[in-house]
């Protein structure tokens, strides 16, 4: 027990690696350091643990199906990515269903032919034009392309209001 104090040389267990002597204080500091390293390592692991893996498919390109499923004059909601496919005389448009006020999902009403937000009553024309209510700007329009007999929407790309996809 009395070994390892001060500069006394000792034989046996206190003789460290390479013949160096470890003082009791040094040993305790090393222990405390290892403990701190272990605890901070645990915090790092817990940090990564708390962020979920594969939360959702972040791909922004959606295949919405064949154009024949969307007759002229129809407005259909695509719930996975919260947008509408609008087919009017000029072609196909993909209109975002996310209200530009505070992000609620707007609803399509056939009778006044407009999108209405259930939260604060903003309303928009079928091409996304802002008609009234607290929303600051029109609904976003996404790029929609005709590829291999399918309509493909890229919600990562915004386009102008009069953009149409012709089939």
């Amino acid at each position: 027990m009395e070994s390892g104090r001060g500069s006394k040389t000792c034989s046996g267990p206190c003789q460290g690696y390479g013949g160096q002597q470890i003082s009791r204080r040094g040993f305790l500091w090393a222990g405390l350091g290892s403990l701190l390293a272990f605890v901070s390592g645990s915090f790092v692991a817990a940090y990564y643990y708390l962020f979920p893996p594969d939360v959702e498919d972040l791909s922004k390109v959606v295949d919405v199906g064949s154009p024949t499923q969307f007759p002229v004059g129809s407005v259909r909601y695509i719930p996975e990515k919260r947008f509408f496919i609008v087919h009017d005389a000029r072609g196909f448009a993909a209109i975002s269903g996310i209200c530009t006020h505070l992000g609620c999902t707007v609803e399509w009403f056939k009778v006044p032919k407009r999108f209405e937000c259930p939260c604060h009553g903003s309303f928009f024309a079928s091409d996304g034009t802002l008609l009234g209510g607290p929303a600051p700007r029109p609904l976003d329009c996404y790029e929609i392309l005709y590829q291999n007999d399918r309509l493909v929407v890229n919600t990562g790309r915004r386009v102008a209001k009069d953009y149409r996809c012709k089939v």
Binding site: A46, Y49, L50, F51
Partner: protein, 235 residues
């Protein structure tokens, strides 16, 4: 003035830690000034400090409990106590979440270890006669803590919601039918239904994550306070 001294004399340090400015250089003051160290008795008999007298078993059981609280809290971020999602969320933790398998297994093994250490701790207390006056009430609290620990395991057993847990709990609650007078009522209280169902799962979850921890922390505090006041028994 050394950096440490300047730090301990700073206004921030002084507002957090009570006592004299040279607190860190005075071991007794450190003991009195810190809530955590204050849990230790102020004086102990040297003979009672011998490792082979207590084997640190109570402290080990407490360490298991702390690990269980931390890992249990982490598991709660992903576990869903619903009959449709419980099993899948358990698999999700084990297979997808970063270090999830480690957290779940740590929770499981610490639970096993805690029961063992609580039990061996009680044997040690019995063998050294530490249940005798003035410590007989603390022995009773210890019994209650043992029962709480077992009930923790029992309620946690159902949560993975697989075949093993379902039939295990089925056997357990059917044992209650043999309890005279209150058996049926107790069974209904635990199950929240006539069979093991969604109501049972949510009840066991609430017992496991809220009711039992609250009672355990209260009784543990009392248990440690009594150890501090009565002192550790001398061999």
């Amino acid at each position: 003035m050394s950096l440490l001294k300047r730090f301990t004399r700073s206004r921030v340090f002084q507002s957090v830690f009570r006592g004299d400015p040279d607190l860190l250089t005075n071991p007794a003051a450190v003991m009195r000034g810190s809530l955590l160290l204050h849990l230790h008795p102020a004086k102990v008999k040297k003979s009672s400090l011998r490792f082979t007298h207590t084997f640190g078993l109570g402290g080990t059981a407490l360490s298991c409990f702390i690990i269980l609280v931390v890992t249990g809290g982490l598991l709660m971020f992903y576990y869903v106590p619903s009959v449709n999602q419980a099993y899948d969320s358990m698999l999700f933790i084990g297979n997808k979440v970063f270090f999830g398998w480690f957290v779940r297994n740590l929770h499981r093994w610490s639970a096993h270890a805690m029961i063992i250490f609580v039990f061996v701790h009680m044997i040690r207390v019995f063998v050294t006669g530490s249940y005798k006056p003035p410590r007989e009430f603390n022995w009773s609290i210890g019994i209650a803590l043992l029962l709480l620990t077992l009930f923790f395991s029992y309620t946690g057993y159902l949560l993975p919601w697989d075949q093993l847990s379902y039939w295990g709990i089925n056997v357990g609650v059917n044992l209650l039918n043999y309890v005279p007078l209150v058996g049926q009522k107790l069974r209904l209280f635990l199950l929240g239904d006539n069979t093991i169902s969604q109501s049972t799962l949510i009840r066991f979850y609430v017992f496991h994550c809220f009711v039992l921890p609250v009672f355990t922390v209260i009784l543990l505090s009392f248990h440690f306070w009594r150890v501090r006041k009565d002192g550790i028994s001398s061999p």
